[in-house]
């Protein structure tokens, strides 16, 4: 369809000479099925792949979580040995943070950013595909440690010197280290790409303060990634050099300071927690106004608080290290900043509440999940502020109280937000709504399971149960609440799977009904992504939308009459682009992002097992880089195809 079948004519009228450095790997045209997915550079397909991969890893991380909970269900259990337990909680944390929650943010960012700013695609479509594939390569490499590695067992933050060869001789840490290094490459290239897209490819009229809140939050998120990932990269490279090449960065015998790892990790790690939650904040800032039938309350404050969190997030890392002996001055300073950062977060909570206040609430599944985020994140936020008080944190650190805290913000907050996003944008992506009946069952089992699992952990933590304890004895008195948490976790496990059940059931019902058109705007929503057909056509907008207002689509649908009363002036169907992509040039698919990622993955295995393996890996990588550079770019002009080349046939 819109993918052009042959090379474009040059402006001069000459036929371009197409050089195919490797014939079989030249740009595929009109590919379908698997080949289409492997070579696509369409931001929507890449977003869907990010989402699917994230849900897959979410299931793996969830199975690990159920392993932990089963082991802890009762005193003196022996289901998992100490070493196995270390691996399971390490992989649970690592997989959930890096391979489930972060890519969920990337999934929504990829799918929605171009749609929300009225662009044809992202700035660099092939780099976008590369970001996904290299993330997947890192994720797969990390997870193969279950089978062929010693199992990563250093915890998700993997402190030195425990992560050194002396204390962790197996290859598990290497899998952790190199898997995340590789995934980090994808985060960095993705950040460059998405920031460029937002800054440079907005539709005419979309000024800063007309950008949707989700776009804003994603912009902040990507800036956090851009600056945080290199710091983690340095920490991991130092560890790689220590483990693989006998360097001395964390060698205490040589006088090294293992706190270096903690500083580097948390300078990355604290922005990291904000970059996990901010996309979810963005999502509910889109859903709550739609289902409250009101504009977002205090839009400028919503934006400013997100940016404020982005800045302040860099000044709080040492609150993860209050018990490491930093000295009173550092502790006081980081304590104060940590208290301050609660303010912009509180502003957001207030604004969501004020948006709902007096609104006509429509409590469908997307809205329920959004309210779930607001409520449960607030619980986690409140226990978070408690940790800013260093004296109190000293008591709570490394107990289950901390575990309860970060699950309330990351699961009860971020993940619930992403679920809201799934229900909200599902019709836009796939052309049918998810079932409300299953959706409500999904929501309520998740709420019940979530609070049963993590609520009791507050009590366990205050009772003194340490985090990462493999088992406990009866006399310690942790049995009751651990059993409650374990029961809750299985409810939560079932609840989490209901999203997949719902997708399947709803799809079948839709198919059986003859695939009825859900319409461009099934929720009577506000953003311009609802101005195109559902599912979103490959070329997004037929013509560049012209933006005059914040919530531009809403203002095109509704206006005030002479009495100041809100009246509908146009239907979504009238306003929606018919989905005619004639004359639109789209970037053509490419094999090279996938090939490049495979090369990098082979180098990764080479760094773990044998440096000789790096040679073919590097060869594939360099071939891919040059193949990439030399393949004809029939996207006409990666820089400005979004604006320049649209000739629309219809009126």
């Amino acid at each position: 369809m819109a993918i052009i079948e042959e090379p474009l004519a040059l402006p001069s009228g000459d036929r371009p000479t197409v050089s195919n450095p490797l014939g079989g790997l030249s740009r595929p045209r009109g590919a379908t099925g698997l080949k289409d997915w492997l070579t696509t550079v369409d931001h929507k397909k890449i977003g869907i792949m990010y989402g699917a991969a994230a849900l897959f890893f979410f299931v793996i991380g969830g199975i690990a979580a159920l392993g932990i909970r089963t082991q802890l269900a009762a005193p003196d259990q022996t289901l998992l040995s100490g070493d196995a337990y270390n691996r399971v909680f390490t992989m649970h944390g690592t997989v959930m943070v890096f391979l489930a929650v972060m890519p969920l943010g990337a999934a929504f960012a990829n799918y929605l950013l171009p749609l929300q700013i009225g662009a044809r695609d992202v700035a660099f479509p092939r780099i976008n595909a590369f970001s996904f594939w290299v993330f997947l390569a890192g994720g797969i490499l990390l997870n193969t440690s279950w089978f062929i590695g010693g199992g990563a067992n250093g915890g998700w933050f993997n402190y030195a010197p425990n992560n050194g060869v002396a204390y962790s001789p197996s290859t598990g840490i290497d899998f952790w280290n190199i898997g995340l290094l590789i995934a980090g490459i994808g985060s960095m290239t993705g950040a460059v790409n998405l920031i460029t897209t937002v800054l440079n490819m907005r539709a005419p009229g979309m000024s800063w303060m007309k950008m949707p809140v989700f776009t804003w939050m994603t912009l902040v998120t990507q800036f956090l990634l851009l600056f945080a990932i290199p710091v983690l990269t340095v920490a991991q490279v130092l560890l790689l050099l220590d483990r693989g090449f006998d360097a001395n960065f964390f060698n205490v015998e040589q006088g090294a300071d293992p706190l270096l790892w903690q500083h580097l990790f948390w300078i990355f790690g604290h922005p990291e927690v904000y970059l996990m939650i901010l996309p979810a904040f963005g999502i509910v800032s889109e859903t709550i106004p739609v289902f409250s039938r009101k504009p977002i309350f205090g839009y400028p404050f919503m934006v400013a608080s997100g940016v404020g969190i982005g800045f302040m997030g860099w000044g709080v890392w040492a609150h993860h290290m209050f018990v490491s002996g930093l000295g009173p001055l550092s502790v006081a300073a980081f304590s104060a900043v940590t208290m301050f950062i609660a303010v912009p977060t509180g502003v957001k909570i207030l604004n969501w509440l004020a948006t709902m206040w007096g609104g006509k609430l429509l409590l469908n599944t997307a809205m329920l999940f959004s309210i779930g985020l607001v409520t449960q994140f607030t619980v986690g936020g409140l226990s978070g502020v408690m940790h800013s008080v260093a004296a109190s944190d000293t008591q709570q650190t490394d107990t289950y109280f901390i575990v309860a805290h970060f699950h309330y913000v990351l699961f009860g907050g971020a993940l619930f937000g992403f679920m809201a996003g799934f229900y909200f944008w599902w019709p836009k992506a796939f052309g049918y709504k998810l079932s409300e009946k299953w959706g409500k069952a999904h929501f309520w089992t998740m709420v019940a399971g979530f609070n049963l699992t993590f609520g009791p952990m507050h009590i366990l933590g205050l009772q003194g149960m340490p985090r990462r304890m493999q088992t406990y004895s009866e006399v310690q008195g942790f049995g009751l609440w651990n059993m409650v948490a374990t029961i809750g976790s299985f409810i939560l496990g079932v609840g989490s799977l209901l999203i997949l059940v719902n997708a399947f059931v709803s799809y079948r019902a839709w198919k059986r009904a003859g695939r009825p058109d859900v319409g461009p705007d099934p929720w009577d929503a506000r953003g311009i992504e609802w101005m195109i057909q559902s599912p979103a056509p490959e070329h997004n907008f037929d013509v560049d939308p012209v933006i005059t207002e914040l919530d531009d689509f809403w203002h095109k649908k509704y206006a005030e009459d002479e009495n100041g009363k809100l009246v509908r002036v146009a239907t979504a169907e009238e306003l929606a682009h018919p989905g005619n992509g004639e004359g639109v040039h789209l970037p053509a698919p490419s094999y090279w992002p996938l090939v490049l990622s495979i090369g990098i993955m082979i180098i990764g295995y080479g760094l773990i097992f044998s440096l000789y393996l790096c040679i073919p890996g590097a060869f594939i990588m360099m071939t891919a880089l040059y193949g990439w550079s030399l393949e004809p770019a029939d996207d006409l002009d990666a820089d400005d195809h979004h604006h320049g080349e649209v000739e629309v046939a219809h009126g």
Binding site: P230, D242, F249
Partner: protein
């Protein structure tokens, strides 16, 4: 890290780019490629920031342990530095920034021949700097400082090695530019490609100014 940047740079080098207008129709008026390069360099600032911090901490700990007579800490330390030699190689690298500017000036004015000369000169000066680094590493190694000898060795070779890899990546880009130029694909309309490589090159130079000052002169 440099490899990651390469597709971004080379992605620009495409057969159909003949009519390229700088900053054409973008929201900020700066082209996507240039914006992306700036963002990438911003990311690199944090990379080198973390590396330099790690170096400073490691050297401080090394000096302290050695002063306290830790018997496990052996091998030479910062007394190995040959300031006059490194000053000379730093000067060479700084001069390569000048030739880089001249290369861009030439291509901007459509002077393809001179742009080739200056691009080649930049690559040559960069290679000379790298040769100096290899020489320096060899001398240090002969004097007993290996990568694994002590904390200073690991930190020094890692930091300067990372910078050296960045210079190498820059030389690869410059060489690619030369190849393009001789294929006739690098003309006035494509001056931004040269500018992008220049941005990267100047950044790597500035990082060296910092490394030279902090590593060789101050600590």
């Amino acid at each position: 890290m440099a490899d990651v940047a390469t597709p971004a740079v080379d992605g620009h080098v495409d057969a159909h780019h003949d009519e390229h207008h700088e900053g054409h129709h973008t929201s900020l008026g700066i082209s996507n490629m240039k914006l992306a390069m700036w963002l990438f360099l911003g990311s690199e600032v944090l990379l080198f920031g973390a590396l330099i911090s790690s170096y400073l901490l490691s050297v401080a700990r090394f000096n302290q342990e050695r002063a306290e007579g830790n018997p496990l800490v052996t091998g030479p330390g910062t007394e190995l530095f040959d300031i006059p030699f490194t000053s000379a190689s730093s000067f060479i690298l700084l001069m390569s920034s000048l030739t880089m500017v001249l290369a861009h000036q030439a291509i901007h004015h459509g002077d393809v021949k001179n742009s080739r000369i200056w691009i080649g000169a930049t690559a040559a000066l960069g290679s000379l700097f790298l040769a100096g680094q290899v020489y320096e590493f060899t001398v240090f190694y002969r004097e007993g400082l290996g990568f694994t000898t002590n904390l200073f060795g690991s930190a020094f070779f890692t930091l300067t090695g990372f910078h050296g890899v960045h210079v190498t990546g820059g030389i690869l880009m410059l060489t690619s530019l030369l190849v393009l130029s001789f294929q006739g694909k690098l003309n006035k309309d494509r001056h931004e490609t040269v500018e992008l490589v220049g941005l990267y090159w100047h950044f790597v130079d500035i990082v060296w100014v910092l490394i030279f000052t902090i590593v060789y002169l101050v600590v």
